[in-house]
């Protein structure tokens, strides 16, 4: 399979669109006092760990693709 089948691409687009709509409608609300677990380092998307940076450096030099990696986010947002 060289590329994703069109129906998978369509389903992926639909899922992302639905997520955006639900999120922007404010349906998903986590209150500050509920964020204890989300604020933990294990729930961070970009932990800036030493091994992660080194690993990404290696993979960039061993694979033909790049991009789409983690960005900062998922933090406490308690205030």
């Amino acid at each position: 399979m060289k590329y994703l089948p069109p129906r998978v691409v369509k389903a992926l687009g639909l899922a992302i669109g639905t997520l955006i709509l639900v999120a922007s409608a404010g349906c998903a609300t986590v209150r500050p006092e509920q964020r204890a677990i989300l604020a933990d380092p294990t729930m961070q998307f970009d932990q800036k760990a030493a091994d992660q940076a080194a690993l990404e450096h290696v993979l960039d030099n061993r694979e033909g693709s790049t991009g789409g990696g983690s960005v900062r986010g998922g933090g406490c947002g308690c205030n």
């Binding site: 922007s24 986590v30 991009g67």
Partner: protein, 416 residues
């Protein structure tokens, strides 16, 4: 080795920066120092590779809205590689062409982050130098959160101006007559046998992070990159004729790349473990389509010790102009007649990765700092094993034996 006086200047500058920022930190609300070291080993009977990657980063927050960062990183590389790429039909002894080399890259970076309420703006500059390559990279990013901080958006843009050393061929010379470098002597000097080729880089990225429940968050990242200039390896020759004629690797001068990454994190209370799953899809104008699937699980084994286990699978198709062997009489106007490559990253491949990381953290208390100095201190160790399956790449018909890679990492971080 790299330009030693230049390296000394950079190290002196870093030391100076450390002293200045260190003095400022006496009045700062917070400062952090990261020291990391990674060792990459790719064993092989003929062409093994070892890379040592030490790095240091210092961040100081003199006021509650400004953080200033500085850092240094090096890649110290040694090993051997085949300077000529030929395929199954090659009449050239490729395997015996492996030559030993050593190299060092140094990169110095500085930047800032301004934080105001729910937004932040960052800027940075990185200068990298090695004896055959120089890079200047600027990056800016801006992020904000809204909907009661459940939604975070981050935009970033990076601009790179790089230079690579090659032999002194003219742009009007036929690609098939161009020669590869055999060493870096004379690079970035007045040497008439050397030339500097420019590479222009533009990187765009947008990230959307969403928290859905107290234990579930997702992230989507869209990336795009535009590259223009000399995009090959100046040291690599490719056998392009059945008689054994060789020429410098010849890649297209433009490449547009795009990727989408989707990931989710879910904390299972019963297991007290955070699980993560991600998928990434990549496409570029060289016709490479890549897919990455990754899962990991992280758990506190002790209140101060957390351990992460991960597994990753990657697969990609070949570049449009990729061939293991270019001596088969390809038409001159076709992708494989106009361009030729010996780069295994452009061949069809897949890889498996398994790894683990342990992080130990010790938090200080008011009036009782860790080791008498730090508000918090952490140390980490990691290990990853990467196995690559090259579906089409050979060295003169022989499968390479350097397809297993090992990566060890070690780091400490202190906040004071």
């Amino acid at each position: 080795m790299a330009d030693q006086p230049g390296v000394r200047r950079w190290l002196a500058a870093l030391l100076g920066l450390s002293v200045v920022v260190g003095a400022a930190s006496a009045h700062a609300q917070a400062a952090s120092l990261d020291l990391n070291s990674a060792l990459f080993v790719e064993p092989s009977k003929r062409s093994g590779l070892t890379v040592w990657n030490p790095s240091a980063a210092l961040a100081v927050t003199p006021t509650n809205w400004l953080t200033v960062q500085g850092g240094y990183e090096a890649d110290i590389v040694s090993g051997a590689s085949e300077s000529v790429k030929g395929g199954r039909l090659s009449s050239v002894d490729i395997v015996s062409s492996a030559t030993h080399f050593s190299d060092a890259r140094h990169a110095l970076t500085g930047g800032f982050t301004v934080t105001r309420a729910s937004t932040h703006l960052s800027g940075s500059y990185t200068y990298g130098t090695e004896h055959d390559y120089r890079s200047n990279a600027f990056a800016v990013s801006a992020g904000t959160d809204f909907l009661q901080k459940n939604t975070q958006i981050e935009l970033s843009y990076g601009r790179g101006f790089d230079s690579v050393c090659t032999t002194a061929y003219s742009a009007t010379d036929a690609p098939s007559s161009r020669l590869a470098l055999d060493n870096s002597q004379g690079c970035f000097t007045d040497d008439k046998k050397r030339a500097s080729r420019e590479i222009s880089l533009n990187n765009f990225q947008v990230g959307w992070t969403q928290t859905w429940t107290p234990v579930f968050a997702t992230q989507m990242v869209l990336s795009a990159a535009l590259q223009h200039g000399f995009l090959g390896n100046p040291y690599r020759s490719v056998v392009i004729a059945s008689a054994g004629d060789q020429a410098l690797e010849n890649h297209p001068e433009n490449r547009a790349r795009a990727a989408i990454g989707l990931r989710g994190k879910y904390y299972v209370r019963n297991l007290q473990t955070a699980f993560s799953a991600s998928a990434r899809f990549y496409r570029d104008t060289w016709d490479i389509f890549g897919q990455t699937y990754e899962v990991d699980a992280e758990r506190y084994m002790l209140p101060w010790l957390r351990v992460l286990l991960r597994a990753r699978y990657y697969t990609q198709t070949k570049a449009l102009f990729w061939s293991d062997d270019y001596t088969g009489g390809e038409p001159a106007t076709g992708p494989r007649g106009q361009y030729w490559s010996g780069d295994r990253e452009l061949s069809p491949l897949s890889s498996y990765l398994v790894g683990a990381r342990a992080v130990a953290t010790r938090e200080g208390r008011p009036g009782q700092r860790v080791f008498g100095l730090f508000l918090s201190f952490s140390g980490s160790v990691g290990f990853d094993l990467l196995k690559t399956n090259l579906r089409d790449f050979t060295l003169g018909g022989h499968a390479p034996d350097d397809t297993l890679a090992l990566l060890w990492s070690l780091g400490v971080r202190g906040e004071f």
